[in-house]
């Protein structure tokens, strides 16, 4: 199978800060490829380079077979892009937004007259075609953007956090829509998201990016299988004695333990077996178990394994390099 995207040792520096540090990967045609990572990890910078919005400092990439540096215009004709910021004109109607962009892409009149209603139908906005975008909800606006990004029938579709800020219902609707559109059209999709559960369900392969580097890349199933433990136990205790973490590590089937205050995350190859042993150990040590949950391994666990921190914690740390427009304090 041919590669729709081929990233080759790409680097982006802002001053002395390296936002993307020599990342390489390839996306096959027809794949839904997820880029995961916290704010400041470098995934938006990476996507901006791939869509020709930012020039790389070193390395390059081929998108649709075209070099992003030497053949930028060919790349632009090949791709559809939904940037992180809302880029539709709020004053214009849904249909006008699609019309203007189809003209910007040079879509012939007959083709756009066919495509625009088709796309509006696909994103379920046909009845709202005459309404100004400013009158639509956040989820509907995102659907306008998706239709607009497809108005020239791109081969590769880039979506930078398309569900951020949407309520759960709208998020589900957007993902279902993307899956449906992907099956109807010959599309390769590269998507960035914070939502691991969604990426788990919908992406064929996932790359985890942290501190500008690629730390893991594989299918969600393989990634989950690659880390120790089939289950994760999360337990909290009252007054755990000194060395309690070591005690837990000795329990049967345990692969590893991490502690945050009184909360312990235990990787286990046999959740029920470890649970029984844990309850017994707590009883023997006269330690009260406050809460206990047993989960299957998730991409969150994969992320913790590969980056050493939880994604939800990382999300709170907005990096100064998250956007090239953000101000940097001297010395940081």
């Amino acid at each position: 199978m041919k590669n729709a995207i081929d990233v080759r040792s790409i680097v982006k520096k802002f001053g002395d800060f390296t936002a993307v540090n020599g990342i390489s990967f390839a996306v096959e045609e027809g794949e839904i490829f997820g880029l995961l990572g916290p704010n400041g990890a470098g995934k938006s910078t990476l996507i901006r380079m791939l869509v020709t919005l930012l020039p790389p400092t070193a390395g390059t990439a081929l998108v649709g077979g075209f070099d992003i540096i030497k053949q930028a215009d060919d790349v632009r004709r090949t791709i559809g892009v939904i940037p992180q910021a809302m880029t539709s004109d709020l004053e214009l109607s849904v249909e006008e937004n699609l019309l203007i962009y189809s003209k910007l892409y040079g879509v012939p009149r007959e083709k756009r007259q066919r495509l625009i209603p088709e796309l509006l139908e696909a994103v379920e906005l046909l009845q709202w075609r005459d309404k100004p975008v400013k009158n639509l909800s956040g989820g509907m606006r995102r659907r306008v953007e998706i239709a607009r990004g497809l108005v020239h029938e791109p081969r590769v579709f880039f979506l930078d956090e398309p569900t951020t800020g949407l309520d759960p219902v709208s998020r589900t609707a957007v993902w279902e829509m993307l899956q449906r559109i992907k099956t109807q059209r010959d599309l390769t999709i590269l998507i960035t998201t914070h939502y691991m559960d969604e990426a788990d369900k919908l992406c064929d392969r996932i790359a985890i990016v942290d501190h500008g580097k690629l730390v893991a890349l594989d299918s969600p199933f393989t990634l989950k299988a690659s880390i120790p433990g089939k289950n994760v136990l999360e337990a909290s205790f009252s007054n755990p004695p000194v060395g309690w973490e070591a005690t837990l590590s000795q329990l049967p089937y345990v692969d590893g333990v991490t502690a945050q205050g009184n909360v312990f995350r235990i990787s286990s190859s046999n959740g029920p077996g470890t649970t029984l042993a844990l309850m017994e150990a707590a009883s023997n040590a006269n330690v009260t178990v406050h809460s206990l949950s047993v989960q299957s391994t998730t991409l969150d666990d994969v992320f913790v394994h590969y980056t050493g921190r939880a994604l939800r914690d990382s999300l709170q740390e907005a990096s100064a390099m998250d956007s090239p427009f953000m101000l940097r304090r001297p010395g940081r």
């Binding site: 919005l53 020039p55 632009r76 892009v81 940037p83 910021a85 880029t87 910007l104 892409y105």
Partner: protein
Amino acid sequence: MSRMWAIVERELRRFRRSPILIVVSMIFPLCQLVILGYAFGGNVKHLRLAVVDQDHGLPAVKIRELAQAASSGARTVDLIDYADEGQAVHDLRNGRVNGVLTIPPEFSRRMLAKNDPKVALIEDNTDNVVANALAGNLSSMLIAYNEPPTAARVPAKATLDVVEVYPYVPYIQYLLPGIVVMSIFMMVMIGGGIIFIDDKARGLHEGYLVTPITKFELIAGFNVSGTLKAVLAGLTIAIIGSLIAGVPNPLDPLRILRLFIVIIFTAFALISMMFLIMVRVSDPLLPRAIFGVLNTVLYFPSGAVYPRQGFPAWMQAIATVDPFSYAVHAFKSLLLKNTGMEAITTDLLYLLAFSVVAMTAATSLFRRTL
């Protein structure tokens, strides 16, 4: 170039949905035309002149009669008799009168003896316009006073005959050309390159920067759409302003056609200049902050409100490169003199050259990436 027209279409569709913007952009120049035109254009009248006659002789009576005649005719001055010069000067200092005409006690005797007779005007020189009007009025009065009772049939002195080529131009008409340029500039500020900066601030530009549009198509699109908006404003103000200012034959089709051409050239030159100034700006507050500075630097040296010949050298230098100057000159030719194209060819050529240079520079400085 179809992509350029897509940008133009986008801008005009957005513009059509903001009618209030169109109205607001035209109100300011019209207010300026009416307020400044009538504030500065009128003759000064009803200045209160205190007359202190300390002589009471026949020549003094004649002076007072001439002053009275001026008061009744042009009504430049209203006479108020004072017996005490001290009181009159006191009232002058307190703003109750605008000047004091003193006829000293020896005036009649000196007049008859032809021994340097003088009357005095004590004026409030903090207000130059009033002071000059009073001095001018009283000087004319004294010239009339000094005329011999019977004039020679053929004057022996050289005199100047003034022939006016055009009908009298009131100040409001003199202001109109500058106001038309101002209205174009207002629309350029509101609807030109500033829209790209707003798009940048809102992140909208990422949407069209990922399309295959070229730098030139993008800049030309913004400039052409801005020009169309500015032409709408300029033509409206030129016609409404002509009607308000009383320009003869304001709806003459040939003149409107010529005005239309100058408005297009002016609008394109100004919008190209603005895009060049703003090409690397990202902060949407900056264009608004510098609007006042730009307006002052471009508008006042252009000769729109005062003849360029009265400027110091450095201001003349600004006026020489200022596109406002050429636009104002062209509009003056058309609105005040109703000339043909010959009189404005140089102006149009300069505006065209200015547009080409500004747009070329903007295109080379424009960043196609973030």
